[in-house]
């Protein structure tokens, strides 16, 4: 997936002289996760360069660049470090178009690795997506495969609104089904790892049904898509797994169609439970599919604690918990 993300930026730097990449360690070194490897060498220092360690400043200058007419791609080294930029994202990037009645806009993509499963402790594991979906004016995108990562990132860069692009870092180098005690799988064995070299887009706002089924609908994104797929096999259930891909704007039609078919719904995310994005999903399913529901909607999430280092696998909502939730949903 990391090569796909790199390729998306490479393609866009080549196609559009107004695209540039900035962030901590993204230049000569190529980023701590290697997402920008080779981009400075190929496109020059002015197209891909290092910034001071000041996330608020990084996003602020990107907003200024966007207002000028550029399309900056910002890397925030970990989503856990995005909070110093919060004011600039929430009060500025998200609001420019509205408050200036379309006079000024901030076409900007903020890429940031998020999520757990790498023993990163509480400062390298957080899943802050709901904080951004709560903000009108932002789009929030989470890919789960290399193919989608490239296509969605190109769409995000070309979008004229600010996009928070959350990259599930646990699956940068291979899919992860949540069975942490099993051997690591490389992407090369996964069908969605076949990534075209050139330009292509995966549209924002469109979910993907990654497993068709009739028993229960599982709504997931990022790493949890792979956990949900494994859980369906573990449970021996014919689950329909939906990869949301874009959290906002959400593909409500795909969700409604599926829940109307199965009558049961499990929502799975890594983020903490209370006021998590699952709460919004549960409310939407209830509002739109109430008379089709056969059982209460289930949520499988991280616990409402900071992300603990030594208890990673007690915290992470792995297949065991997802299977239990699916079974509860089937009992109703």
């Amino acid at each position: 997936m990391i090569q796909a993300i790199n390729s998306a930026m490479d393609v866009m730097l080549t196609r559009d002289p107004d695209v540039l990449v900035l962030g901590e360690d993204v230049g000569y070194f190529g980023g701590v996760f290697r997402a920008t490897e080779g981009l400075q060498k190929k496109h020059g220092v002015k197209r891909c360069f290092d910034t001071p360690i000041g996330e608020g400043g990084i996003v602020a200058v990107a907003i200024g660049m966007g207002a000028y007419g550029l399309r900056p791609i910002v890397e925030i080294q970990f989503a856990d470090y995005i909070y110093p930029a919060f004011d600039q994202i929430v009060s500025e990037a998200a609001r420019l178009r509205y408050r200036s009645a379309g006079d000024f806009t901030a076409p900007m993509t903020v890429r940031t690795p998020y999520g757990g499963g790498i023993f990163g402790g509480q400062t390298h594991s957080q899943s802050p997506e709901a904080i951004f979906t709560h903000v009108s004016g932002l789009k929030t995108v989470v890919p789960s495969t290399p193919y989608d990562a490239k296509g969605l990132l190109i769409s995000a860069i070309e979008d004229n609104d600010p996009v928070i692009f959350l990259e599930p870092k646990r699956i940068y180098n291979g899919p992860f089904d949540g069975h942490h005690d099993r051997p690591v799988q490389p992407w090369s064995k996964h069908p969605a790892s076949d990534v075209p070299d050139g330009y292509y887009k995966v549209p924002l706002g469109k979910a993907a049904v990654v497993r068709e089924g009739s028993d229960v609908t599982v709504l997931a994104y990022g790493t949890m898509v792979h956990v949900a797929l494994a859980s369906a096999e573990d449970a021996g259930l014919d689950a329909e797994v939906i990869d949301l891909r874009t959290l906002l704007p959400l593909d409500i039609d795909t969700i409604v169609k599926s829940v109307e078919k199965t009558g049961r719904c499990v929502i799975a995310h890594e983020a903490t439970r209370t006021s998590g994005f699952g709460a919004e999903l549960a409310a939407l399913v209830q509002e739109n599919c109430f008379y089709h529901l056969e059982a209460p909607i289930e949520r499988v999430t991280g616990w409402d604690t900071p992300y603990p280092h030594a208890f990673e696998w007690d915290y992470f909502p792995g297949p065991k918990r997802v299977v239990e939730a699916m079974r509860r949903a089937m009992e109703g």
Partner: protein
């Protein structure tokens, strides 16, 4: 038992509070013309004294003296004076409108007109300004229609911002005037980013931004200085030190121990400290910094030393925290009076012409207001369609916002 003195906490306090005599005895005012003017390409480390001095051009007799005299022609000076007078008349009218219940809120820039207007005169018209909420003078200097400004203040049917923004939070890309934010200081590093983009594209336009003394305590202020220094961004970063951040005097922002201009030094930027009530000094300093920026020598921090004569906003009552006659005691005078005196000293102006201009700008404001009010005032029937409330959140309206609009029955 350790034999040490007990520690004591220092809380800065202003010199005078309500009921006390204004006290500006600690304000050091060097003679006009006494501060040297280095070449705009001087290395920052050779001009650090300028961050602790006070660049002044107009002396007490109204003469323009010293190396910073920008030698503006009388016509430009008269235009500058008129824009300052027009801005003041506009402020007075809008303040009254708020008191009459025609709008919710207003902020005057009385006493600080030169800080924005002289700077606007020194910049090119397409240099990009990232103002705070007290630089309405830039828009007026650039000829933005008063009627449109008023329609914004009244949130009426012709409000270009469709009733979405607090009064005075103007925006005009056409006039290179960035949309104003109520969150303090956010525009400072944005201006740096805009300037970086201009340099990236090989453009020749520079950026300028303004914050108040209080806002220098925000992280964004320091981020701006750091990024501006690192990337040598072609930007002018102004601190309008008007002594008061709502009720907190400048010492609370960190102005007690040093000057705001000296913040530049730690970032390797030139810092100029300028008499903000001296139209010519503000013009000259801005011009110096603009020359430097256009020569790819990067950013300049300018502290414009001035005084906020009125309250912070219509929601503020300054008599509760400072002597009510403090403004009159301000040792640097009034920018309108000082430029008027200069023009008269040059033989290019008179009391009669001044009085006539005073009447002219009042009439211009009155006529503009009449027209603006004919398009509605806040709370009246003439306002943008409520349908527009749901627009421009995104380029294309997503389904969930469309559905919410439908729930309103529109």
């Amino acid at each position: 038992m350790k034999n040490r003195k007990p520690l004591s906490l220092h809380i800065p306090e202003p010199e005078a509070r309500p009921g006390e005599q204004p006290d500006f005895s600690g304000v050091r005012v060097p003679e006009a013309g006494s501060v040297r003017r280095p070449d705009p390409d001087a290395p920052d480390h050779e001009i650090r004294d300028l961050a602790y001095s006070l660049i002044r051009v107009l002396d007490d007799k109204g003469a323009a003296v010293g190396p910073w005299n920008p030698r503006l022609d009388p016509e430009t000076l008269r235009r500058g004076l008129r824009v300052m007078m027009l801005t003041r008349a506009y402020d007075d009218r809008m303040y009254r409108a708020q008191r009459q219940g025609k709008t919710s809120f207003y902020m005057k820039c009385t006493g600080e007109e030169a800080c924005s207007i002289a700077a606007a005169f020194a910049l090119d018209r397409d240099d990009m300004c990232f103002p705070s909420y007290r630089q309405q003078g830039i828009l007026i200097a650039r000829g933005y229609p008063l009627v449109t400004m008023m329609c914004q203040v009244y949130s009426n049917e012709l409000d270009p911002l469709k009733g979405r923004q607090l009064p005075i939070m103007y925006s005009s890309k056409k006039d290179s005037f960035f949309t104003i934010s109520g969150n303090l200081g956010t525009q400072f590093p944005q201006a740096v980013g805009w300037a970086m983009a201009s340099a990236y594209k090989g453009d020749d336009r520079i950026a300028a931004s303004w914050v108040g003394d209080g806002t220098t305590a925000e992280g964004d202020f320091h981020q701006a200085l750091n990024f501006a220094s690192v990337y040598r961004a072609p930007v002018i970063l102004n601190v309008v030190n008007n002594q008061w951040a709502i009720s907190s005097f400048s010492g609370i922002a960190g102005g007690e121990e040093t000057t705001f201009a000296s913040r530049a030094i730690g970032y390797g930027l030139p810092g100029l400290r300028v008499d903000g009530n001296d139209f010519l000094a503000v013009y000259a300093a801005t011009d110096w910094a603009a020359t430097r920026a256009r020569n790819n020598q990067g950013a300049t921090l300018i502290e414009l030393y001035t005084y906020r004569v009125e309250g912070h906003s219509t929601s503020d009552d300054p008599s509760r925290y400072r002597p009510s006659d403090e403004g009159k005691a301000w040792p640097l005078g009034d920018p309108v009076e000082r430029l008027k005196k200069h023009l008269i000293a040059l033989g290019e102006w008179s009391e009669e012409r001044h009085e006539q201009t005073h009447k002219d700008v009042a009439e211009e404001v009155r006529a503009a207001n009449k027209e603006a009010e004919s398009h509605g005032t806040l709370g009246g029937d003439k306002k943008p369609s409520v349908k527009t409330m749901f627009e421009d959140v995104y380029e294309d309206m997503p389904w969930h916002i469309r559905r919410q609009r439908q729930q309103m029955g529109i």
